[in-house]
Subunit: 428 residues, 2 copies
């Protein structure tokens, strides 16, 4: 037994062989929930496709020999109970929701790898000493409601039900309504807040091009960038497109497109790693022969240094107000997401590095340009974030792709890390 | 009898007194069809509100003693048959459709004034020698489908059913589907094409600020500007807002907002009377944390000189392609409306001027910056376009307003013109 447990490179290859097909099938199966004609996947929080996916995952967890259960907000857990019941749980997993017409791997991979890892460990080593759990987090993207990390935030106490009271989606459906329609937010379900998590490990696709360009298998994330998201509302005056001379117009779109141009140019001047994006852009009344009265658009800005981020945001908000004033427009800005940069746990990262080295798995310590659920868990327990390559770095798109072999290497690293923590009781 | 018929100024005041309240009530009543919470009116072609309005108008026409009938596309006619049946009809009216959340007066006033004028004439002078008709045209704005002047175009042979074959609204409903759902486009209705119209007179709110600024009652339109409308489709690459460095992006919104800025600046440099508008702007996938893959927007350009219009459009289209190339974006442009400038009938305009002078009604000969149904009729018969003031020039907006007194003066002028043509048989 003892000989078997610290994998040799040969054992790692065996693991990878034995799980490559399984992980590929699991990913394709999950990709069928919310499949779009355009080729992508859409699983917005509490939608029908989202609900179908969570219920199917619960069944798959039971099939894998795990105890499946939902919490109040709709997070799904698959548990392998530890023999030493006084110990905290080791948790792995990621989010089940997607952006509109997004990819098959973002979020989903971390859940699939977790289920397969726990199944593998139970089959080969029986029950762990420390409880091991895989979680399918209900929401991370903020694609349906202006709210991100609803799943991990509810578990870690960083999100509260009061925050959703006034939120509605683009069809005017309230957050609460949607949650209850999906069967959650009711008293019979267990409270989402957890105090018994000893460590959190998230496996995720890089959503960038670094690992592929450098031809590496694993990225060990040291820090996650800080990011801010704003809603900007520009108000002018609706008027006739033919009879209103240019100089008498109060064109909300004229102002909003100028602000967008300023933001993108300023981000280019600032240079990497700063990124700024206008992703959402709504015009009212949105008719060809009417001068737009209102434009509501979003701004997403990210940088690993809190001060640089702060300074840049102050700068573009000042310019937006100036542009509005010059054009006799009214502008309102609303900061609805403000995540500080987060450093991941050094101890866990060192273990992952050790695993990679001992099995000659090529790896790199790096920063993440995207936010991830692991940053929420880092506030309550040591947390790690492990990347596998993304082909061409394309993500949030139907073209998102990672080869089954790359997925399997990441899963193998997760299996060994969970083994060390759950069965060998290595100190976290 | 003869003494009464050529109105003295005193008679004009009597008319105005007698119809001011009636026109005000009629306008408020019409404004109730498609009334929006935001305060405006929305009657998109073949919608439920549109259908309710047409059916209610048909009843109102019968009540006014007119013969009401619909044609194949849903134009509604109220006829006062002439005693001399060999003569062509004199037609007045305007369009019943509105833009999204538009005003109460645009189009509607021309219909209301026509019904009230014909009712007044029948009551005071009995049946005319030449047939008089008021028409409630089904569509002019192009707000639901990329198709304008569907009503007047079908009557004058400038629009054909083949042109709607592929058109759908923003919800994917086909033009044909919508028309049939509203009860039109069926063989049992009479063909829309007319060959028996002797003259067309349209009464309309100015939708501009000239008459109010100059404190004048009536605008006599000599020419209508030419206009072009395009749909511009910019395609880039959807990608992750956090992990994609600025220099590697293919941001469709970055390109489209730059094109919008270029267009508006070029229009300002060109100077009045040229106007250019981006009224509609759709982003895909339209999510805060995804770099936009596609933007589809409209461009509306107008000028009374065909050559200036042509040159300006060529210039901005060239620049759009240049911007797309520089940013590695793909751009497609589609011209879906191309209306040449139109001169209105000099003879009818002279009659209107004579009526105004003889009754000391302040007036101005002017150009129209907006397209109107009268320009379609001018292709098949002498046509006139008469403006009344628009408060602050605001139009296509809930704030659109013209005082009942101004509406009544315009209606009185229409009554006298119809009297001269229908009863006095003045040459057109």
């Amino acid at each position: 037994m003892e000989g078997k447990v610290t994998f040799s490179l040969h054992d790692k290859c065996e693991i990878i062989e034995s799980i490559t097909e399984e992980i590929e099938e699991f990913m394709l199966w999950m990709g069928s929930f919310g499949k779009q004609e355009e080729g992508g996947v859409t699983r917005l929080l509490y939608s029908e496709a989202w609900r179908d996916a969570q219920l199917a995952l619960a069944a798959a967890m039971e099939q894998a020999g795990l105890e499946a259960s939902f919490d109040w907000v709709g997070n799904l857990f698959g548990k392998l109970p530890g023999t030493e019941t006084n110990k905290t749980s080791i948790m792995t997993g990621s989010h089940v929701d997607t952006v509109k017409n997004g990819g098959m791997y973002d979020g989903t991979f971390g859940i699939a790898a977790g289920v397969i890892a726990l199944k593998y460990l139970k089959q080969h080593f029986g029950m762990p000493k420390r409880s091991l759990e895989v979680v399918s987090l209900c929401e991370e993207e903020g694609s349906r409601f202006p709210m991100t990390y609803w799943g991990s935030g509810s578990i870690t106490g960083r999100r509260h039900v009061e925050e959703i009271a006034l939120l509605t989606d683009e069809n005017g459906i309230s957050f609460r309504e949607a949650m209850e329609a999906a069967g959650f937010g009711s008293g019979t379900l267990r409270d989402s807040r957890r105090q018994d998590i000893g460590a959190f490990i998230e496996l995720h696709v890089e959503q960038g091009i670094v690992l592929e360009r450098k031809n590496l298998n694993i990225g060990i994330v040291e820090a996650i960038v800080g990011q801010r998201r704003y809603t900007i509302e520009v108000t002018g005056e609706a008027n006739h497109a033919g009879t209103t001379p240019m100089m008498w117009r109060k064109d909300a779109l004229g102002g909003a497109s100028g602000m967008t141009q300023y933001l993108l140019n300023a981000a280019r001047e600032q240079g990497a790693p700063l990124v700024a994006t206008v992703g959402r852009f709504e015009v009212k009344p949105n008719v060809a022969n009417v001068i737009p009265e209102k434009v509501i658009f979003t701004v997403d800005v990210r940088h690993p240094d809190a001060t640089v981020l702060e300074t840049f945001c102050h700068r573009f908000l000042t310019e937006f107000r100036k542009i509005a004033e010059e054009q006799e427009l009214h502008v309102q800005t609303h900061l609805w997401m403000n995540a500080s940069p987060v450093n991941m746990d050094k101890g866990l990262s060192a273990k992952i590095e050790r695993i990679c080295k001992s099995h000659d798995i090529s790896h790199l310590s790096m920063a993440s340009g995207a936010g991830h659920d692991a940053q929420m868990f880092q506030h309550i327990c040591p947390s790690a974030l492990i990347f596998v390559p993304s082909h061409l770095g394309i993500s949030h798109s139907p073209q998102e792709y990672t080869s089954p072999a790359d997925l399997a290497v990441g899963t193998a690293v997760l299996i060994e890390l969970l083994y060390l923590l759950g069965y060998k009781e290595e100190e976290i």
